[in-house]
């Protein structure tokens, strides 16, 4: 379960203000050229633009008393050119969201101007961008299908009162979920219903995987869980339906990969996620696999923009898997979290940080694709 409200992986379909912020500027649109003329009076009085990426070409038709053009949001400079000599032009690029900005040209009588940005950026994808989105959507659909099946098998064992089998099927049933967790977080209260840990939600609302986990491991029973089994199956089925229509962007897919690694850093390395079953490393691997699948979807785009970043990321993903390998006990099973030493968790944490830092540089490379 996500403990913080990070930028969401996707969710244009949602009205949440937070998500709208997260997605703004990630839309694909052609960069528009904006010609700006400054003179001895200062800035143009008002400029009106459409939201999206812009390339500003600033020329100076004055004598040189005014030679600077800045775009500010409140007190913050978003972009600027200095020393624009008469007759010369200088350029800079900036992606602007809808809103009111100020332009500033110090030295003139009209040193401040208005910049109004309207509308939302176009969301039309390039063919490569569409290919990335299609590939990742296929992954989402495959994983949610697997989630529904594995969850059913797990809850069947719980409902049948077979404690040992239920414990055995618990961790595997969660793998698909951990691979696509940032997607589930987009859908409001669905993630807490499925994946809340004790204390994340009010006690009487607590259900889902970790409630059942606590009953199985701490209380050693399958009694009284049939309503929880039923809710869990319904919730994962709802998730399966929702992902079919969710809107995706290449840059937000890349950000989702980073979020999955942040999940590893926050709750798997620390052993917070599976506090009763101690199967944290199973989740750890699933988070990394999910991040890799998201990365693979955008990799062809990134390959064109920054092949050296692709080389680096491929090596860092391999290093994380190599770091996990000594703890494997089977195809999808690992030693208990409590078997790890401090040195073990430190090394794993360093490997994740080493991967996540360059991974966080992917989205700016592919934004607008």
């Amino acid at each position: 379960m996500f403990r913080t409200t990070g930028r969401a992986l996707l969710g244009a379909a949602l009205s949440s203000a937070l998500l709208a912020v997260g997605l703004a500027g990630t839309a694909s649109a052609k960069t528009a050229e904006v010609k700006v003329e400054i003179n001895d009076d200062g800035c143009p009085a008002k400029i009106t633009l459409k939201a999206g990426p812009h390339h500003f070409k600033v020329t100076n038709s004055g004598s040189g008393d005014v030679s600077e053009f800045e775009i500010l949001s409140g007190d913050r400079i978003l972009g600027e050119v200095e020393n624009v000599a008469p007759g010369l032009n200088k350029e800079f690029s900036l992606t602007l969201k809808a809103g009111n900005y100020t332009t500033y040209c110090p030295g003139g009588s009209r040193d401040k101007g208005k910049l109004v940005v309207k509308g939302t950026a176009s969301t039309k994808l390039s063919s490569e961008g569409q290919a990335a989105v299609d590939q990742y959507r296929q992954y989402l659909e495959a994983q949610t299908a697997e989630l529904v099946t594995a969850t059913k098998a797990f809850t069947d064992a719980v409902d049948a009162g077979n404690l040992d089998q239920a414990k055995e099927l618990y961790a595997p049933s969660r793998i698909a979920y951990e691979r696509i967790e940032p997607v589930a977080e987009v859908f409001g209260d669905l993630d807490p219903k499925i994946d809340a840990r004790e204390g994340d939600v009010p006690k009487k609302e607590w259900g889902g995987y970790h409630y059942i986990e606590q009953k199985l491991w701490v209380d050693g029973t399958t009694e009284g869980l049939s309503d929880y089994s039923k809710d869990l199956n319904e919730n994962v089925a709802t998730l399966q339906n929702l992902v079919k229509d969710v809107e995706l962007q290449p840059a937000s897919i890349a950000n989702g990969a980073v979020e999955l690694l942040n999940e590893v850093s926050k709750s798997k390395i620390t052993g917070e996620e599976e506090r009763y079953s101690r199967t944290d490393l199973v989740d750890f691997e699933a988070n990394v696999q999910g991040a890799e699948a998201a990365y693979n979807a955008v990799k062809p785009i990134l390959q064109q923009k920054s092949p050296q970043l692709v080389t680096e990321l491929d090596a860092k993903f391999a290093a994380v898997y190599a770091g996990l390998q000594p703890y494997e006990t089977g195809d999808t099973t690992y030693v208990a979290y409590t078997d790890l030493t401090k040195a073990d968790t430190k090394a794993l944490s360093q490997a994740i940080d080493s991967l996540a830092e360059p991974l966080s540089k992917v989205s700016k490379q592919i934004v607008g694709s």
Partner: protein
């Protein structure tokens, strides 16, 4: 862009308070009152024959960081040193690092917490630890260039060294007059190096406990005593060449104009110290507490008279700290100290203050500097009140010019 200009304020007014010291300033500080007083928000040049942060007038705050190198790739390591140098050149000027700081679709290159703050006399001083040279297989191809001065630190009487907060492959000393500026520097350098280096341990410090400039007032350590009265000051160029800088005839050549850094985390048993009488405290240190004068003297800078007797007993006791640490008792050995007080909260076992002195000393060679002096301090009365629990020895290479990177003399 300067961090102040990034705020989008008119800028000029705020920037006017920033005074850049000329390159000469390290060797020949401006006249008293011109630039060395606190809170002028000066920029200390990064470039020079020696690294900044050694004879630079001691700033108010420290963040010291030790790193493990987590790769065996020599090129990656050199790249990080190059990237660190580039970022450092900007940060000491109070500029933001990187190019992407207003892109909505990317994490900003600069983490931003120092926006609005000036240079604050930030210095960044880099050093290499013995383990970097000793690494199995010599992947960095520097084993043959290891200075003899990086020999393992001996175990001294009463040492309780914790390996996990000691030594390291690389070290960075960040000093500034503002704690956020120092933290920002280490945080962003650690981020730049992520995947190649990982933080091993770090130490914050406050309240400089030494002067390295004869116009600075001698500060007090947490025991309440003036500390570092007889330190080497920047005005004493002869002492710097004799005791601090590695000379052109010293081995190895790549360390010429560099210096060896020794760090010691010295926990003070403050609860016990505070229960000692003033008389005991003064006899332990060998100085008067209020004025800082050596026992038998009247003023702080009076000569320490080690031969004076009263009723047949030495005025400065045989086990007093200033006697045992005095250059005349240590074959004339001197070091440049620029330590800081620290507090890391409460000792969870004893519920006592976890505080003391983070000792920092620069010298031409620890085997003729810190090590014999520390051995000589084995009978120091002060030992009853202190405990050394971290140690570090680092070879700090010479400074860089307008191009190049810190450590280039080692790797090229």
């Amino acid at each position: 862009m300067s961090r102040r200009a990034f705020l989008g304020t008119a800028g000029a007014g705020a920037l006017a308070t920033t005074v850049a010291l000329g390159t000469d300033a390290l060797v020949h500080p401006p006249a008293a009152g011109a630039a060395v007083s606190r809170r002028l928000d000066v920029a200390v040049p990064f470039e020079g024959a020696h690294q900044a942060g050694i004879v630079t007038p001691v700033q108010d705050r420290l963040l010291f960081a030790s790193f493990d190198v987590i790769t065996d790739d020599r090129d990656d390591l050199v790249q990080v040193l190059d990237d660190w140098t580039r970022a450092s050149r900007r940060m000491v000027k109070g500029e933001m690092i990187g190019t992407d700081n207003d892109n909505q679709d990317a994490p900003p290159d600069d983490t931003g917490e120092a926006v609005g703050l000036g240079p604050e006399a930030l210095t960044l001083t880099f050093g290499f630890g013995a383990s970097l040279f000793d690494r199995a297989g010599d992947p960095f191809r520097i084993a043959s260039r290891k200075p003899a001065a990086l020999a393992p630190m001996p175990v001294f009487a009463r040492d309780e060294i914790r390996p996990e907060i000691s030594e390291g492959d690389l070290a960075i000393q960040a000093c500034a007059d503002d704690p956020t500026v120092a933290f920002h520097a280490i945080r962003d350098l650690a981020r730049i190096g992520r995947g190649v280096v990982a933080l091993r341990w770090s130490q914050q410090g406050f309240g400089r406990t030494s002067v390295t400039d004869d116009k600075q007032v001698t500060p007090r350590n947490l025991m309440g005593f003036k500390d570092g009265t007889n330190n080497i000051v920047v005005e004493d160029a002869g002492a710097l060449d004799d005791h601090v800088w590695v000379g052109p005839k010293d081995d190895p050549a790549w360390m010429t104009n560099g210096s060896y850094l020794v760090t010691r985390r010295i926990r003070m048993m403050l609860e016990i110290w505070d229960r000692s009488t003033l008389g005991d405290q003064e006899l332990t240190i060998g100085r008067n507490k209020q004025e800082g004068a050596p026992l038998g003297g009247a003023k702080e800078h009076d000569t320490v008279n080690l031969t004076a007797k009263h009723d047949g007993e030495p005025v400065i006791p045989v086990d007093a700290h200033i006697r045992l640490a005095a250059p005349s008792e240590n074959k004339g050995v001197r070091m440049l100290r620029r330590g800081f007080s620290f507090t890391d909260g409460i000792d969870p076992v004893t519920n006592q203050l976890d505080a003391g002195l983070f000792f920092i000393a620069y010298q031409r060679d620890p085997s003729t500097g810190f090590i014999p002096v520390q051995q000589h301090l084995a009978t120091d009365a002060l030992n009853e009140y202190i405990r050394h629990d971290s140690t570090g020895t680092f070879a700090c290479p010479p400074g860089v010019g307008a191009s190049g990177f810190v450590g280039e003399t080692l790797f090229h």
